[in-house]
């Protein structure tokens, strides 16, 4: 899935329809693509944490006159950051869930009650109910080296005040748990 961002001629049609750009002034997909094209490492860090804000909605891509595969570009930039130890803390928590439960969003006692109430089994028939199946997931995560991506935590880049999202007390946990 090599991206084709070299086709980009910087017209800005992508940024103009991007819902995340509308909300976060610093999120400018055209600029990120330019930085990536020029391959400047220090500029790359200027994209953090914003590059992880993309909702992968494909609106930019649908609007690009050059048929740039913008979302593939975003994914590549993210993969490089993650392989440099720059996974966001919230995403790191989601990733750890995968090791522990085989799910990015595991079940809860409250949901088990709802399941019984609906006539479903208390535990879904998925990997989280079986140690054997969960072992398979962990084996595969080790073979692919995904476990190593979670090893060293680089201190997260702090945003300037005004750019951080203000979270309601208690909402961080739910966002993390359900942030797949």
């Amino acid at each position: 899935m090599p991206s084709n961002i070299e086709r980009c001629y910087q017209c800005g049609q992508c940024t103009s329809v991007c819902p995340m750009g509308e909300q976060e002034q610093t999120y400018k997909i055209r600029k990120f693509l330019q930085m990536e094209k020029r391959g400047l490492a220090n500029e790359e860090s200027m994209m953090l944490p914003f590059i992880f804000y993309c909702t992968t909605c494909y609106r930019c891509q649908d609007n690009c006159p050059q048929e740039v595969k913008i979302v593939d570009g975003v994914l590549e930039i993210r993969a490089n950051a993650v392989h440099n130890g720059q996974m966001l803390r919230s995403h790191r928590k989601v990733a750890k869930m995968l090791f522990e439960y085989g799910h990015a969003v595991p079940t809860t006692p409250e949901v088990m009650e709802k399941r019984l109430h609906l006539g479903l089994d208390k535990m879904p028939p998925t990997v989280q109910g079986s140690d054997e199946q969960l072992d398979e997931i962990n084996t595969l995560l080790q073979i692919t080296g995904f476990d190593r991506l979670l090893e060293d935590e680089v201190p997260e880049i702090k945003l300037n005040e005004g750019l951080t999202c203000v979270q309601q007390p208690g909402s961080e946990l739910s966002a993390v748990e359900e942030g797949a």
Binding site: C57, R59, A79, V105, V111, K114, L140, E178
Partner: protein
């Protein structure tokens, strides 16, 4: 037994089990018993895991497809994110024998093999193509009289585009047609094809900004005076349903739009009660909506 296994993903079974129950019940009514996909994991989520490490993403996705192939089944997903992951992984592995061999060398360590002899289906696409709008209409016992805001979701449309599906050429209507087969009316509203805000790992990375995207959509739906939102994805479902509560808290608004997955809407039209479909288990209160359903929506 059927030739379809139900891939649950994460959010449906672990947050909105009503969607899982509704899928099983409606398919059963349509004469299709879905097989359980035992041991299935996270798809894994396209926004986070695909962008972190492609090999990991592809390997876990191929395990999920392999589990289904072992039962001689096609995979049926009820989630746009799962569809995006499994459909893309499936087609990449089918196209690229070297990649397939590489993935299978990993999978074999757990006793599985990706064969590439089956297909990945989204419930909406399956119902539209294999049962058909007329087929659904004929099964309806309780025609619905409500106005619906249909939310397609980005990762229903995009994989179909990549598969070169005729469903997404020109004006896109397949989901609206399925909704209208239940008797409900799909209401046009501004920015209908806009994202719910949650995808791509953005909900975890920038919750507040994603909720502002959601709020824009909720406002447009409110302006169009809809009775409920109907989606095709538990993650969009969560963003609209739990999201309304989060938005009301942070912006002092009073959004109160009931949120239904299509299988829940279809379930109502097939005669199931709202409780059997888990419509009463949403975060945003649905008591008034349920009362109106009982009264045949005459007070609308």
């Amino acid at each position: 037994m059927s030739n379809l296994s139900l891939f649950l993903g994460c959010v449906a079974p672990n947050r909105y089990p009503g969607i899982e129950a509704a899928t099983k019940k409606t398919f059963s009514k349509l004469g299709i018993e879905l097989d359980d996909l035992e041991g299935a994991s996270c798809c894994p989520a396209p926004g986070v895991f695909r962008s972190f490490d492609k090999t990991t993403w592809l390997t876990l996705a191929s395990r999920n497809i392999a589990l289904s192939e072992e039962m001689d089944d096609d995979v049926l997903t009820i989630c746009n994110g799962c569809y995006s992951t499994l459909k893309e992984a499936d087609s990449e592995l089918k196209k690229d024998p070297v990649l397939k061999k590489d993935v299978n060398e990993k999978l074999i360590e757990t006793g599985h093999e990706f064969m590439g002899q089956h297909d990945v289906r989204h419930v909406i696409e399956y119902l539209y193509q294999d049962i058909g709008v007329e087929g659904i209409r004929k099964m309806i016992t309780t025609p619905l009289k409500m106005n619906v805001a249909v939310h397609y979701g980005c990762h229903l449309v995009q994989p179909l585009k990549e598969a070169d599906s005729g469903l997404v050429s020109g004006t896109i209507t397949f989901f609206d047609e399925l909704v209208e087969a239940t008797g409900a009316k799909s209401i046009e509203y501004e920015d209908k094809m806009m994202c719910c805000g949650a995808g791509g790992g953005a909900r975890a990375a920038a919750l507040d900004a994603t909720l502002r995207i959601t709020e824009n959509k909720l406002q447009k739906m409110t302006d169009a005076k809809v009775d409920c939102i109907v989606n095709a994805c538990p993650f969009c479902h969560l963003q609209f349903d739990s999201g309304q509560q989060e938005i009301n808290k942070s912006s002092c608004t009073e959004y109160a739009i009931p949120v239904l997955h299509y299988t829940q809407l279809l379930g109502l039209a097939l005669g199931f009660s709202p409780e059997e479909l888990g419509i009463d288990l949403n975060s945003t209160n649905t008591a008034v909506f349920i009362e109106r359903i009982r009264n045949g929506f005459v007070t609308a």
